[in-house]
Amino acid sequence: MHRTTLGVPREAGAREKRVAIVPETVAKLAELGFDVIVEAGAGAEAGFDDAAYEEAGATVSGPESYREAPAEDPWKADLVVKVSPPSESEAKRLREGATLVSLLQPESNSELMAALEAEKVSAIALDKIPRITRAQKMDVLSSMANLAGYRAVLEGAAAYQGFMGAQVTAAGTDPPAKVLVIGAGVAGLAAIATAHAMGAEVRAFDVRPATAEQVESLGGKFLMLDFEESGEGGGGYAKVMSEEFIEAEMALFREQAREVDLVITTALIPGKKAPTLLPEDVVAELRPGSVVVDLAAAAGGNCVYTKADEVVVHEGVTILGYTDLPSRMAHTASRFFSANVRHLLTDMVGEEGFVLDLEDEVVRAATQIHEGERLPPPPRKEPTPPPKPEPPREAAPRKEPEEESGAGKAVGTVIGAAIAAAAFALVGLFAPEDFVQHFTVFILACFVGWQIVWAVAPALHTPLMSVTNAISGIVLVGGLVQAAPGGSGLPVILGAVALLIGTINVAGGFLVTERMLGMFKKGGPK
């Protein structure tokens, strides 16, 4: 198994405080065959100092050290792991044949993709990891969205000048804040849960009616739209909706805007500009002092007044367009990010060490560039729904099979009795007397058998089966009668064969039953 060097450069973006790999992960990666090189100060803003990395077994190197030992440059490692997409100049520092693992947003970063292609590297986009069950533990987008949803409520609450939960004080009583969450994806659900936990009254809307249950399980009230259209797109995202739908939706938002104090919008459509959910006329309905937190700010925003990374105040309404919400919780965000990356790498390490296996569904989907060649998107597979939050503990009401089969049994009995009666009447009318006698015996025997077998203990069902099996070997009597005349005629031979196998059946059946029953013992007093 070969060892792979894994470089963790310092993030260059002004608002990027996260680090891709935290010290806790370094040791685990070492076990998997990775030698981790961390750029000095890479974790500083997330609260991980260089000493912690060194303690965990990583090599920490600054420009002065790798000028002397180029092998210690994190950008020259076999595998480079980053949070934000690298700049083009950073991309040029990668060495040929290296692999880059990072968020890449390939659709909006075509120049970067071209630069990576030119460097003949392989690039794995963490944001392109498919949303399938197996890859849940590697899903950076989900874990970051979870943080973003949580943080959005805190930022919104900080900007809002009232209480979130209801307050009863000597000076007067305040009702809880009313929070509207639009879009019940991972971020939306986290926001719902957070706002609910803070005591706010939460309502939520999503174009996918299937999310209603999840919203309600987290304490939100799902707003129903009186309109038949599901917005279920692929991979747990929503799709673009029809005009009529949007009109109905806007009417709902205008109505809600008059009541709510805090609006959190999380609507994203993959590869497209974020849909405008709060146009001028909806914002106009919001009361002064209310707050909008737009989680789609980086993709153009769900609110018309949103400006990315800025706080806009429009006629008393504060609109927060932060794009760095996870980074505002850099410590925790880095830990989650790092764990996601570790899960991905764990899956990629085979017996020979780290390999980029394009046969693997997850790796194939996430790999954008393979050894300098741009890969086409993988063939679409059946989309699976997004991870559902743990359902509430109470089991769904149990279907009562007893009653149903009881009713079914009654009907069955009646029908059976009717058929039997009809058959009996026919037999009585047409069959000779001798046959009717046998038939009577047969029917009576059926009833007797029916009565006594129900009383058999379930524990004895196997012995019952084997004893009835033995008894059914009574056909040997038939064989005996046919074979009795002797000689070598065909009937005699057939009879003899029947007698033989019938006897095996009888003897075997009874003896096996005997053997089984011999084992059933009652426990002695203890």
Partner: protein
Amino acid sequence: MSANAITVSYLAAAVLFIVAIKGFAKPETAKGGNRLGILGMAIAVAVTMALAFREGTAGLPIVAGTVALGTVVGAFLARSLPMTAMPELVALLNSFGGLAAVFVGMSSYLEPGELDETERAIHLVECWIGVAIGAITFTGSVVAWGKLRGTFSGAPRLLPGRHLLNLAMLGAIVGMCWPYLDAVDADAGLQWLLILAGVAAVLGVTLVVAIGGADMPVVVSLLNSYSGWAAASTGFVLRNDLLIVTGAIVGASGAILTIIMCRAMNRSILNVVFGGFGTAGSAPAASGDGPQGEVQETDVDGLVAELKQAKEVVIVPGYGMAVARAQHGVKELVELLQERDVRVRFAIHPVAGRLPGHMNVLLAEAGVPYDIVLEMDLINEDFPETDVALVIGANDIVNPSAATDASSPIYGMPVLEVWEAKRTVVFKRSMSTGYAGVQNPLFFHERTRMLFGDAKKSVDAIVGQLRD
């Protein structure tokens, strides 16, 4: 021997059979029941011999020799096979019953005795029915036997258009009756009977190959029932009331077991026989969704520590325990826990294993007293008070989606609610699905721990640690 004496003797045999089965109501009386059954059979054979040899003993050597040989072979099978092979043996013996009915039917066709016109017609039809049921029972049981012992794959084989094919064969079985009845002489008629036996034999195969391994308890019960009806139809062929009575009782018994098994799976008999369970519609649900989260593993040390703390332990055995032959280790485990004043009980699902009551027999074989082995209904409500539930080689019968997930193919099937226990440990080889092919959310439950590996080795390791 007078005709009345024979009738009375047959009546006595029939009554003995009835009383025998009645004895199976309780484990205490079952053994006596079995002896009465043997007595009944002995009387039946003796009386029949007396009747058959009334007019001459030319066939005596053949008959005596055959009976002796059959008894030796049967006894050998019964004695030599291990208890784990019991399901196969029952299926195999069942096939013999069916085959015997085929031969008796043919033989009687050739030697019908003296009959008037109407009686002759009825006798012909009776032979027809007897051969058909017998042949279906025979090949069906052989296929079931093969599936149970693993010679054939347990997975359902679905032939294209099998419903049409089965229907066509059923139609042929009924349709061919007419040319057979019109046959000019015995040879022509026998040919029709042979063709019939062939078609019915194929039908027996196609019916049973389509049924999956988990449904084996139902199939074996159903075939058991068929073998009874085959005996009853033979009784009609030979105008012998004893056969009719016995066949009817066996038929009813098999039918009841079939019903009990179907109820335990919340499925109708038609669904089992024609369903091809765990394939067609339900499979994508199984493969697509995959696990719902992470499984949490435990090891022998961890489990032993938990068992030492426990006061109430319930063991849920499944077919996996039988396959791993872990029942003896389980019995030792039970004794060691009982010495520590832990109350240990077993929870048995009606369809656990490959035969109705299969688990009870295995546990009895290992020497587990039957009064701590409880049926599902008696123990299900005790799970919330259970400290540790050990699931050994069971899967579908402890699947919570049967109770909660309406889209699950096993929805509505009563299951053992082990997830209610304070801790559930699942002994399993791997994360593969059970026979129904559905994923089991139990494995991802927060209070569930998985103990991967061979059940016997795991149990033995636990026993070893508890002993120290």
